[in-house]
Amino acid sequence: MSSRGFTIVEVIVATVVMVVVLGVLAMALRFFFKGSRTLELRQDALTLAVLEVGSVEILDPVPEPYSTVRTDTLMGRGYSVRTTLAWSGDETRLLTVRVSSGDSVSVELYRQFIISNREESR
C-alpha cells in the first residue's frame, strides 16, 4: 500500500502548474471573447459606414455642406453615426463618416466629390 500514490511535493508542484496554466487559459479566453465582441462591433460599424457613404454617393446633386449625428441599430446594438460633408477645395467636397460604439470602437471612412462633374452636366 505504501508503494502506491504521489509524494506531497509532486502534488504541490502539479497543482501549482495547473493553477498557473488554468489562469493563463482564463485570461486568454477573456481576451478572446472581448476581442471577438470588439471585432463584431467593428464589422457592424464598417457596414453602417459603407451604407452611409453609399447613401450620400447617390444623392443628386451633391448636397450643401452639413453635419449630422444620429444613432443606428444593427443586430440589436446601437451605434453613433456622425456624417460630415465639408468644402475641401474650390470644387470639391469631403465626406467623412465616423461610426462608433462606446469609446472603444470607431470606424472612419472618407470620400471626396468633385462638384463640377455633376453640376456642369445640367
Binding site: S2, S3, A14, L46, L59, T92, Y110
Partner: protein, 470 residues
Amino acid sequence: MNGSAPGNRGAAILIAVAAALVVMLAVGVLFALMDRMITGQLQRESEAQIRLSEASALDAMIRIVETGGPPEPGTAHRFNLGGVVTTLTAGVLERTDLRRGGFTTGGDATPLVVPSGRFLFAVTPENGVTVGVFSGSTTERLGSYRLGRTPLLTLASPIRWQGGDAVLLALDNGAGQEIFVVSPSGVQHSLTTVIDGLCRSSVITSGGAEGSELLAVSNGGNRGFVVNLRSGLSTELISPPGTCPAITPSGEVFGRAAAAGSLTLAPPVTDVFFEDVNRDGRLDMVWAGPRTLYALTSRGLLSGSPSPGASLLAWGMIEGSLGLGARWSMPGGQTLWTRLTLDGFSPYEPVGALTIPWTGRFFGRGTVVAGTVPGGVMLSSVSGSYSQQILEGNHFVWGDADGGDVDVFAPLSGGIEAVFNPLAGDGFSQHFDMQSSLNALNTRSSHRLLIFDDFPRRRVFSERERPVKQ
C-alpha cells in the same frame, strides 16, 4: 505516502505538464485565430477606404481631363485621401467608337425604360412594380425599390424632384391612381388622385418650382388634367386641337380650364417636347401626333402639316441645318418633307440623310442625325455620305441618362442595351494604370477613360477594365 514505487515517481508532475502543454497549445491556437480575425477585419476596413479613395481619385482625374484634356502618356497623378495614396498613370490615347453599355435588370420581363438626367430607371412587373436605378455614367445598379402592392402600372415618366433626377410612376389601384416619385435614394413622394382617361398613351409633362411641382396628363387628345403633386389637387384643362395640355420645365401651364361636360373632337397627340425651334433664345413647344405637327413659337401656333389627310411619319430637330422638320406620307402615297422657316412651315426637298426612311422622332445636331428606321437605330451624317446602324430592333427609348446629350435604349428580356450620346460621334479612349496603397496593402487595377469632345464641353466617362493581381 513517502514510499511510492519507482515507476510512479514524478507521474503527477508529468501529467500536469502534459495537461499544461495541451492547454498552452489551445491558448496558442486561440491567439493565432484572434490575430487572423483582427488582420482580416483591418484588411476589410482598408479595402473599403481604398475603394472610396480610388473612386474619388477617378472623379478627380475625370475633372482634370475634362478641363485640361488627356494627359501625355506616362504622366502620373497622385491623390491622397484617408491615408490611401492612389497613383494614376496615363497610357496611350486611342480612337474609340460610340459609347455603348448594357444594363442587367434580371428575370425574363422586358423592362419599361425611363432615362432621367444622370440615371436610368428600369420598371419591371415583379411582385407588384419594381424600380431598378442605374447610373448612366457607369451602368452600375445603384438600387432597387419594390412598390409592395400589385397594382397596374399605367405610366412612367422622367421628372425633376427637389433638384434631382427621378421617375414618376402612375399606378392604377382600381379606385384611382397612386402616383409615386422615385429617386435613386428611394421613394420620395406618393399621393392618391383620380385622373379620368389616364392610359398608357397619355402624354405627360412636368415642371415647376421645388415644392410646387406640377404634372400635366393628357387623355391622348386635347383634354387633360394638371395635378399639383404636393396637394394632389387636379384641374381639367383643354388646349387647341392637335395639341394637349402641358407644363413647361419652368412650370408654365399650357391650356385653359375646360368647361364641364364640353366635348371636342381633336386629333390624338403622341409626343410633346420643348426646344428652341426658331432660334430666338426661348424654349418653344412642339406636339406631334399621327396626323399633326404643331409648334408654339413667339409667332403663335404653327401647323407643320402640308395638307389635310397627310400622315406624320417622322419629326425632329437638326440644329444647325434642317431645324424643325417633318416627314409626311401624302394621301397619294408619296412622301413629303416640311420644315419650319421664318414664315412658318414650308415644303422642303430632302437631301442627304433626309432621304433615309426615318420613323418617329429623330435627333440631330451640326452634321449628325440619329433616329429610328425600320429594324433599328441609324446614325448618319447630314450629308448622307456616312451612315451606320447602331442598334437593332423595333422598340427604342430616347432620352438622357448620363447627364449629356440624348441616348438611345433598346429594352430586352432581362436587360437593356444602350448607345450613349450618338450625336457626339466617335471619341478617344485612354488607359490608366491605378495603384493604391494603405499601410501594407497594395492594389492595382486598370481603367479606361472615354473622352468625347461634345461641344461646348468635353465629356469623360470611366470604365474599370480589370483588377490586377499583386
